[in-house]
Symmetry: C2
Subunit: 341 residues, 2 copies
């Protein structure tokens, strides 16, 4: 009898249709929002912050700012983009590759920038107005278009670390970008997997996911005219949620005004739902788009992946590349759907 | 002038010769042991522990135990292996695959076991005697040989999460194993990469690494008759260290007594050096060996990867699969080499 009870609902292996990655979904001991050890992110304020208005001279000179008043590197901006003071990669240098016996290396060419989302130290991205979130998205777009002109750069990753447990080192609300001289393997795997699907089906795998998930409904969190937020079928992490444009598009930087307005709404709404459902958890998001120097791809579909920090990335995960997810996406989507904005 | 100072030592991109994965090594703002925020792991004791002697009835029945006295599931053991009470995967079921529209899934067949390394709650793996560490290694070997008989299982990952920040949920010193019905992608990538190298060079890439690193010396941490501990050329994480058998071997489970004795010594010595250098940090290790049902591979070389938990796995890392490592392996190896045992 005991055994039967234990096996009532077996764990399940699910395969991500894009990358082919398997994940273990624990159907038997499902974790709900209150089951996670959560570290609520609360902005403390106080202390010196180089990203606050008035301290513009304490950062490297800005590369972009939207401002109502003032000149470059002065107060009066609403969004400000600056090079990271301690960049992971630098613009100076050449792309020459060297050998060290059997090993290969190259200079760390690239860019590493901070997108300060608001002059207000005490707020978070989900708490900003829709207009302000939209401005952040335009800053993303403008920086990608600018970096694209440097043909040494192959990829720009836009990402956000929110809260110290998610890797944030400053509490002033910000996103980051890193421009790389190689296409990162995570993105290349998505593109390769999507191409295999396209070769077989002659359809975009993301477009097919959208069609199936909208029809089924169980994994849908939010729908707008131009976007969809879903918990994917084989998520690596509990409450992992993706935002995808409904209409096929391979390059994020091609967004127009109606799309940007709509994306600002859905991103803000999703972050607010995550805040409510999981008590303002730390989180990361990344924007996956087509490599800079590539033209339109019928098989690859840009999107944003949002991941609250609820579990540890431990020995099993990095030893295997397998993920153990204690919350089925249908459950996660239901909790997120049912919470208010 | 300022710019020149900033560029004195540029970041470097290094390529892992096995998987082709690039990592960013921050040569310019190198982090030394004291620069990391470290969370020292201290065994507290107190409270009920199902892994302590006398509580054998509180765990599922053991699948293996080395004991001086007592019968199965009684006190008197030195190493005890038990199924995880809340396993990620179970032995019962079939491997049948199902579709859900465009998606694929299968039952979560496999095994998830806990290897309790010692009856003593208050100690850690690095603090055990060499003989006791060797017993743990024999338990690894015996479990792999047993699980190998189930032909549905394709891989066994042996791993350790030490300390809560590294994912440990109990403080009683233990390793875990997860047996999987598919070869995990991380291992498959290593095998595929090693095969590409072998096809080109007709040599094992790990054997070549050993030759070059022993000759150079800068990345060597420890050497014994049969094993080598090195910080690899393109490490993902600061102070990441690998232990490799000097003589080519694809299957861990083929170790004999001289090798097991020698491995116990070097694993224990490395963990003690990590404890001294980084003030008893949380860490993970994984044992990568050839898939269960494969015969000897001339191109793949089993090894252990040890990773102290010093940095966060944040937006950039999981958005790209790229790693940003603030400690060059030559620096890490020097610190570890210079510390006592």
């Amino acid at each position: 009898m005991r055994r039967q009870r234990y096996n009532a609902c077996l764990p399940e292996l699910r395969k991500d249709p894009i990358t082919g990655r398997w994940v273990i979904i624990a159907n038997d001991r499902v974790k709900r929002p209150s089951d996670f050890f959560r570290e609520t992110v609360i902005v403390q304020g106080g202390g010196f912050c180089p990203y606050c208005p008035g301290n513009e001279a304490k950062t490297p000179p800005e590369v972009l700012a939207y401002r109502q008043s003032g000149g470059p590197n002065e107060d009066g901006w609403s969004v400000r983009v600056i090079p990271n003071k301690f960049p992971a990669l630098r613009v100076e240098g050449t792309l020459e590759r060297h050998g060290e016996g059997m090993y290969d290396k190259m200079e760390g060419i690239g860019a590493h920038e901070v997108i300060v989302e608001t002059p207000d130290h005490m707020t978070t991205l989900g708490e900003l107005s829709e207009k302000q979130v939209e401005s952040v998205l335009w800053a993303f777009r403008d920086r990608v278009l600018d970096l694209k002109r440097d043909v040494r750069l192959r990829y720009v990753l836009l990402f956000k670390n929110h809260g110290a447990p998610a890797g944030a080192t400053s509490e002033h609300s910000q996103c980051q970008l890193i421009a790389l001289p190689v296409v990162p393997r995570q993105v290349q795997e998505e593109i390769d997997g999507a191409l295999r699907y396209y070769d077989f089906k002659e359809r975009c795998v993301y477009c097919d996911m959208i069609r199936q998930d909208v029809a089924g409904g169980a994994r849908v969190v939010l729908e707008t005219e131009h976007f969809l937020a879903i918990c994917p079928y084989a998520p690596r992490f509990p409450f992992e949620t993706w935002i995808l444009p409904r209409k096929h598009a391979s390059h994020f930087e091609s967004i127009d005004v109606p799309l940007a307005e709509n994306l600002a709404w859905i991103l803000r709404a999703l972050l607010r739902k995550i805040d409510r459902t999981l008590e303002k958890p730390p989180y990361n998001f990344v924007l996956h788009t087509t490599p800079l120097q590539e033209s339109a791809m019928p098989h690859y579909h840009w999107h944003i992946e949002v991941i609250p920090t609820l579990t540890k990335y431990a020995g099993f995960e990095w030893g295997t590349g397998f993920y153990l997810n204690p919350t089925p996406p249908e459950e996660a989507a239901r909790f997120l759907r049912d919470s208010g904005l």
